[in-house]
Symmetry: C2
Subunit: 354 residues, 2 copies
Amino acid sequence: MDHRAGMPADEEVVAELGSKVTMEFKHQATVTLAEVAEAAGVGESTVSRVLRNHGSFSGKTRDRVMAAVERLGYVPNRIAGTLASTGSRLVAFVIPSLSNIVFPDVLRGASAVLEENRYQAVFSVTDYDPEKEEALAAAMLAWRPAAVMLAGYEHTEGTVKMLRASGCRIVELLDVDGDALDISVGFSNRAAGRDSAAFLLKRGYRRIGYVGHDLNRDTRAGKRFSGFCETLGAHDAPLADHEILAGASSVENGRLGLEQLLARTPGLEAVYFSNDDMALGGYFHCLARGISIPSQLAIFGYNGLDIGRATPQPLSTIRTPRVATGQMAAQLVVANAPPQVVDLGFELIEGATA
Amino acid sequence: MDHRAGMPADEEVVAELGSKVTMEFKHQATVTLAEVAEAAGVGESTVSRVLRNHGSFSGKTRDRVMAAVERLGYVPNRIAGTLASTGSRLVAFVIPSLSNIVFPDVLRGASAVLEENRYQAVFSVTDYDPEKEEALAAAMLAWRPAAVMLAGYEHTEGTVKMLRASGCRIVELLDVDGDALDISVGFSNRAAGRDSAAFLLKRGYRRIGYVGHDLNRDTRAGKRFSGFCETLGAHDAPLADHEILAGASSVENGRLGLEQLLARTPGLEAVYFSNDDMALGGYFHCLARGISIPSQLAIFGYNGLDIGRATPQPLSTIRTPRVATGQMAAQLVVANAPPQVVDLGFELIEGATA
DNA sequence: TACAAAATTGGTAGCGCTGCCAAAAAAATC
DNA sequence: GATTTTTTTGGCAGCGCTACCAATTTTGTA
């Protein structure tokens, strides 16, 4: 992406400064629980109990311990604590992307719940690459997390085997069209596609096209597309044409895709986009070209981004519970709930573009 | 031995849900390094050396060890490894928000670099609350990270004290207007504000307004605003009016803010927005009301979001190196570079809205 | 007052791994 | 072939904490 400002300069900076480094960087002698115990004049286990507010101890002891903690600036070592105790309070997210707003939204919902429960979120990004997902999942398991959260159901055999063997909870997010390994929280992408098609048909559009981004990688977008086509087909209005762009979903790609689609297939009445980013690109294309919406061309998106509600004509789309998905997933993990599939559903927003 | 299996809590859960759950719940007996060593017929330290590719060992031994690892499905325990060795490979991010695209972008840049170097990112979200930042920073330090990354320079005294005492690297991101605690990577928000003002003045706009979101919390936006006003003042064109909206920055708020500003102060020639989200809201407002841009009203944003480049008129704004900021920050941490401030600069995009 | 029950405490064995050191094996040298 | 040197190895003491257990103190009861 944006390497402009960084890369070449980065190397220089690092190299340049390498020589004049003296490290005040080594770890400082940190205070340990044993030192706190000594300072407070109590046993180690007592300090441990007080700090975790677990087991019993007198008020007097608690005060003494807390005073010592304060005085020494003690920060418990969770690494040691986790190793010594039962399960960890780490939750690992292995997500396809941080550019697609969907995933920050999920993280946002989840992290709020996790923080409240003193869990810690760790994450890594796969770029929609199943092999990379496998490698990163393996790396995450090395931290012995309480749960691993992944996007969707499509994983390599190796990933599945590894996760199964790990014994930690597995949460598959943002999809319910498939077989869950353990817990799954999301909504039906296929149904979203079908409902979108049904809506367009109900509005009377018949010559309908599709503009999307790489479907092999984003399998959930693929499921929407397939549901969409299915319903069109069932109503004798098969997809008129489609344009799939190579890169990731983006506003620019949506614009480009629509331009190409319209050039190739005149007379389209409506276009379904793989998501709101793409749809907004299409919308802007129409604005720029003076194509009147929805009379000349209807536009339908997916996701229900805020921005789509603030455009001159609100975008017709499907709003997905992204934050809620994260919240629910986190809650189930924290509660150590039994395996289950939670379908949070979605909401069709009529908008003004279709 | 695995004393987890007998935990009261586990039993309860299992009992409660016993009817419909078969428990892949309890922690599975995980393979340990000692078991691998035994299976491979070598010592523990040999396995450790092979797996970390550190120290010396024969090819034959390596093969034996790897075979055993494969066979047993061994996943090293990084918790134990980190505790035993000096210095962790965790990097902690304490960020204000995941809604503001800035932070996912920074995370994206950083996580790519961190993953390459086998570091692990952990994060938590402060909601722009300094108190919460302090609490979360404390929680992160408990994981003994190699570095803590924070947004900007404004932290509570407690946070600063704690970070200083921790002995881990501290990276302050997205700002260079202030005194760095250790490493700092970003760009000057004040200069961005000044340049924006200078640009608008150069274009001949004199009656200029501002629409922004909560400045107390987002201090970087505050610095831009202050730089902006400074330059306007220096050119005898003091800010005509401003509208500050309570909530977070959003497209909707930008729209609302502009509407209110225009109602109150007719005759404005240009409006500066606290960022591109807000600016797009303003842009849409103008589109909807038939206000011609930039002849009737000029619009200027901040951030250089992709979407601003795909609107019918490209947004005039300042593009910030967000991903590069994350990359650079991660590189410096990985390289254990000396304390320094890295100013990555920004780029003014003329666009068509101002 | 004596004795049982309950509430507090401290000691200590690991958790699974790494780092150090010395021992053993292999390679190199005379 | 004997001796050095180098390369490979294994043993084991922690890393800082928690869980278990037993010891101690406090409280309650007869």
